[in-house]
Symmetry: C2
Subunit: 337 residues, 2 copies
């Protein structure tokens, strides 16, 4: 079996290790594994399930003999170095938002649209909120045709920037010790608080985080007519995003049909035993590859064809690490064999 | 000026002190103030802005010479003792759910329907989520006629039972100290988690907390045709509930008109300076009498006549303490003068 040379570009420690664990768990045949970082992190040694790896400084020669380059470094690094990686014949899987809205670049959730990967040299990974919702909703979309989606999010503090999660911990400790705390990552102190503001505000007064859910779901579902309105809220949880979702379908729908459908769907877990107080929660969704879904019920405003439901998923996995490695796996299996 | 004898029945310390502070801040003319408690709390001394008060044991003779009895003790105590208070010629203002759905008992948010108080001997206070939403939405309802409401809540851990808030604090400390924690109040460990389950589940798979928002808003707005679907979620915040709300109005509506309207509305604060990162949050809404509202924008699914918006309000005040004392104030001013 052919083995591949893989580079991971400039991820935080939280994302490095998740990507590497996913490579291991999905049994990706790895020949060489490069970690490419900034001056600050280069020459650190990283322990991995494969072997110990010294982080190398990212530069224009980093991608020689690399088959796959996984970028998790923010759009500026992706903009500059993804084309360089492609010139060196690496295939790029990019976690930043830089390429997501480019018509020539596929935006992939493998459960949904892996067929669009084809020969693309650069493949974009969606935003975390979109990735989690789309995995849970696509089976319903496919069978009942979802026309409208209203989402309110409950987003955790961890994303590629581990500082954010640390700020939740530090600010919470300060609060409990009656100490002052100066927030740096978040616009306000997040300890025992919530912030209805993620990413910059757009002209229509939605945030970019909220608009990404519309733009990206339309692209992934290949359906410009699906209408989505999102309210994105940061809450003081460490990991795993949750989403309260209302959907309208074209065909009539009931919870039992949805349950039968989702139980057969990959990477989705129906968590519906309310007698045992079992429902989607960050606590149970954290570190899991499956997206938890339930609390499905007929919406009381519209009734037929409308459902309310609740989703939790580990956004560091489904967004940054697992989704990227699933894409890589798909390319190896489908396109390179 | 006539002064009144007021009894507060079996509240937790958190609610006792909020009610007493509201009596003080709203300048209610108090002659005598009785705190009526269980065997466990009776004979404790409570410091108040009026004077130190010894908590007395609640019994059938507790309401002699009492003009107003404010109940915050759960429905069983209200069911048993509210009629006894009424027989002693006290007027009862009840925070429990026991009388809320009785057609003969007015359910009052004074900003909205104080006219229904009339000569009622028992007056019910709504659920916290309903009270907060209704104060923010009623001005819009009155001018643009709201027909449909979809709500996702972000509810804090403090309610009449101070144990719940303490469990958040204790479980968070345990988490940060890498200690095990045994949850008692909540169905799961709430530290850095959320729980999409408040109160018991109903037959339609909504929780009672979610259904209360429908039932009570319809009664308070005196509109059986207003349709409401709610998802109620407990999050790890200490105090002040938030709500992500989507509304449909009968008349066309735009955010600027709503702003002009809400800026003139009592007990509501428009928090709309996104350039300064100002929006409704538990941190800023806590201890405030006003309900914070903004992030108003045209809903992207329906566009015209539909808005998305965000609300935060101190539920211990607007639900338990302030609303009850506002009702009491209304009776004194309108009906007893």
């Amino acid at each position: 079996m052919k083995k591949y040379n893989i580079a991971i570009v400039w991820a935080s420690w939280a994302v490095w290790i998740e990507i590497i664990n996913c490579l291991d768990n999905l049994k990706i045949p790895v020949n060489n594994l490069k970690l490419l970082g900034s001056k600050r992190s280069a020459w650190n040694i990283q322990q991995t399930p494969f072997w110990d790896i010294k982080i190398e400084l990212l530069d224009e020669n980093s991608f020689k003999n690399i088959d796959f380059a996984l970028f998790s470094a923010g759009w500026k690094i992706s903009e500059k170095f993804a084309p360089i990686a492609v010139k060196s014949w690496a295939r790029v899987i990019d976690n930043s938002s830089h390429f997501r809205y480019d018509k020539n670049i596929p935006l992939i959730v493998p459960e949904i649209n892996s067929g669009e990967i084809k020969n693309a040299k650069i493949i974009a990974n969606p935003n975390c909120t979109t990735a989690i919702a789309s995995v849970a909703l696509f089976p319903i979309y496919k069978h009942f045709w979802i026309k409208k989606i209203i989402i309110s999010t409950y987003q955790a503090t961890s994303w590629w920037w581990a500082k954010a999660m640390q700020e939740l911990i530090d600010s919470t400790k300060s609060y409990l010790d009656w100490q002052e705390f100066q927030n740096k990552v978040f616009s306000h102190n997040i300890a025992f608080n919530l912030i209805p503001h993620i990413d910059n505000f757009c002209e229509n007064d939605y945030t970019k985080e909220e608009m990404k859910v519309t733009w990206e779901t339309q692209k992934i579902f290949w359906d410009e007519n699906i209408k989505i309105s999102c309210t994105a809220v940061r809450i003081p949880t460490i990991r795993a995003h949750s989403e309260s979702v209302t959907i309208e379908t074209e065909k009539e729908i009931n919870p039992q049909e949805v349950k039968n459908l989702l139980k057969k769907s990959p990477w989705v877990k129906v968590v519906d035993n309310i007698k045992n107080n079992t429902y989607p929660m960050p606590k149970t969704a954290t570190w899991k590859y499956d997206i938890e879904i339930w609390r499905i019920r007929q919406n009381l405003v519209f009734w037929k064809k409308w459902l309310d439901l609740f989703i939790s998923g580990d956004q560091l996995l489904k967004w940054a690490a697992l989704n990227a490695v699933q894409i890589l796996n798909e390319i190896i299996k489908t396109h390179l064999n």
